[in-house]
């Protein structure tokens, strides 16, 4: 009872603050002094320091790069791989603002070329191609026999005009207007209910049945092939997407980054990419 008032006079609010600060400092000092857990002395010579390779990759590479990583780390045991999957444009912005990336894999040449011109990445190499296809919601699948039936569908979603898949879609619709019907693009755009900001959003809207149809990459369509119908776009109308890869300038793991790029371009890497639905970088488009 007597202690309480004395305590409160001795420790004014300010002094209590100082006391708290001192205690925090003390605690943090002690933590530093605490002996760090020493690693068990290794009999064998210490392995090379582990390093983490940071790979910025277009969202459509998620599944394929995941299986590439599983293979890669089998032969590169000292390398950990951290992925950052997002739209190519977002990744480009992050790299422009000096994000700590080692490798950049883009879903289009535009973003890669602009980074190269700004000397933010080294020379790129095309490592895969991807073919746009039409995905159709299950309940509409019966009414679409071919690409020419697309304008019949009431609710179509496509990528935004500056998203790579949206740009390709525009070019494909233009090609169709030239060779199928002059008003093809116009009739399709009249039924467009949304211009999505990345290709996965287009796919989601069709998978959920909100939209009747959308244009996505073959790799995206394959990842949902039990939930949507897939309609191939005739090769003479289609625009094939090219995926370039490059080492980011100033990468602190340039050697491992070069190893990764080499692996992606190797036969083993290409086989895994093609399993996911990608097309080899050179050679004729599929028929």
């Amino acid at each position: 009872m007597i202690m309480t008032p004395r305590l409160s006079t001795r420790f004014s609010p300010l002094r209590r603050l100082w006391l708290c600060a001192a205690l925090v400092l003390l605690a943090s000092c002690q933590q530093k002094e605490a002996p760090a857990p020493t690693p068990a002395p290794a009999a064998a010579p210490a392995p090379a320091a582990r390093q983490t390779l940071t790979i910025f990759a277009a969202a459509s590479l998620r599944d394929a790069f995941g299986s590439l990583r599983d293979e890669f780390i089998k032969t590169h045991t000292d390398v950990d791989i951290a992925f950052n999957f997002a739209g190519s444009q977002d990744l480009r912005t992050q790299i422009e603002h000096a994000a700590p990336a080692d490798v950049f894999a883009s879903a289009d040449k535009k973003n890669m070329n602009e980074l190269q011109q700004a000397s933010k990445v080294g020379a790129p190499a095309v490592f895969a191609r991807n073919e746009p296809v039409v995905v159709v919601a299950q309940e509409s699948a019966a009414s679409v026999a071919s690409f020419a039936d697309l304008p019949k569908l009431k609710r179509i979603v496509i990528g935004g005009p500056d998203v790579p898949i949206g740009r390709y879609t525009g070019q494909i619709l233009d090609n169709a207007s030239k060779s199928l019907a002059a008003d093809f693009r116009q009739r399709v755009e009249a039924n467009v209910v949304s211009r999505e900001l990345d290709v996965r959003q287009v796919l989601n809207k069709v998978v959920l049945g909100e939209a009747n149809a959308g244009v996505v990459y073959r790799t995206d369509a394959n990842s949902a092939k039990h939930k949507v119908g897939i309609v191939t776009i005739p090769p003479e109308l289609n625009v094939i997407a090219e995926y370039p890869i490059a080492i980011v300038s100033g990468s602190t793991h340039a050697e491992a980054a070069a190893e990764w790029v080499k692996f992606v371009l190797s036969l083993a890497g290409q086989a895994l990419l093609q399993q996911a639905g990608f097309i080899a970088p050179a050679g004729p488009p599929p028929t």
């Binding site: 444009q89 977002d90 979603v157 500056d162 209910v193 949304s194 211009r195 909100e210």
Partner: protein
């Protein structure tokens, strides 16, 4: 002695205030710097170009229209809900209160998926809501619904605590003088809670204005119909970072102008409502 003692006390109080201000200033700085960065990173020419961007005006008009409607709905339905929650005891009332707060923690994109699963074409209510095959998704109404879902919790939270702060005796007195529950709510509860309700409404409106993820998921992104200003900003970001920055500044400027306007308009009103004895005396004089 007393004068030096008083001086010491005054100095100590001054020091304490300065310390509190300095600590608080850290947060102010942290919050202000990104805003400053946005403004500093955008030249006047960029800003002018941003204002002239073709996406700006349709998006701004749509944003103002939809947030106004969602605010009216939120306040009209949220006020009675908050009043009821504030004056109901028991487990179920607390459970309902928690439930109302849940949308705050759900990431907006997930909120959009949740809304699709509830109100979408294949959602829980699909058979009952859309016998004709019509669906609210991809319409301007869907934008409003998404905004209400993410913003109403902020209003309800503020309103419940505003209603709880009312001196219970005032309500009891009003009831004793024969005012009906409806009259107590309208003539005592509402005027006394007005400042809290206004603050909640402003917070909720600001949240709705910045809403992005749920809108994109649930309503899509189509110019003039569902593309609000945040979606337009993200769409512009795909093409041109600086245009997106300029659009963001437009959004902030609109928000600041509206917030200042609302604060100025409400500046005198709440204090009147609180200090006025009329609020309490009217029910007594009523029938």
């Amino acid at each position: 002695m007393t004068s030096t003692g008083e001086q010491r006390l005054a100095r100590r109080q001054q020091l304490q205030r300065a310390l509190l201000g300095a600590v608080g200033g850290l947060l102010l700085l942290f919050l202000a710097l990104p805003v400053l960065g946005l403004v500093a990173g955008t030249s006047w020419a960029d800003f002018r170009a941003g204002l002239a961007h073709p996406l700006v005006w349709p998006a701004l008009r749509l944003s103002l229209l939809t947030t106004l409607v969602s605010l009216v709905v939120t306040v009209a339905l949220g006020t009675p809900l908050s009043w009821t929650l504030a004056h109901t005891r028991g487990r179920w009332a607390r459970a309902a209160e928690t439930l109302v707060q849940l949308p705050i923690v759900i990431p907006p994109a997930v909120a959009g998926i949740a809304m699709l699963l509830a109100f979408g074409r294949r959602g829980l209510l699909a058979g009952w809501l859309y016998p004709e095959g019509w669906s609210v998704t991809f319409t301007t109404s869907a934008v409003v619904l998404a905004q209400i879902f993410v913003s109403a919790p902020f209003f309800v939270q503020a309103a419940v605590s505003a209603f709880r702060r009312i001196e219970p005796n005032l309500l009891i007195v009003a009831r004793t003088f024969g005012a009906s529950p409806w009259r107590v709510f309208l003539r005592v509860g509402l005027p006394l809670a007005a400042p809290g309700l206004a603050a909640g409404a402003i917070l909720s409106w600001a949240r709705a204005l910045g809403e992005f993820g749920a809108t994109l998921m649930f309503a899509g992104n189509l110019e003039g119909r569902t593309q609000t200003l945040p979606l337009a900003i993200y769409t512009a970001l795909e093409a041109d970072l600086r245009a997106a920055q300029a659009l963001s500044i437009v959004l902030m400027a609109v928000a600041v102008a509206l917030l200042l306007g609302v604060r100025a308009a409400l500046g005198t009103a709440p204090s009147r409502a609180v200090s006025s004895s009329r609020a309490v005396s009217v029910p007594a004089g009523g029938p």
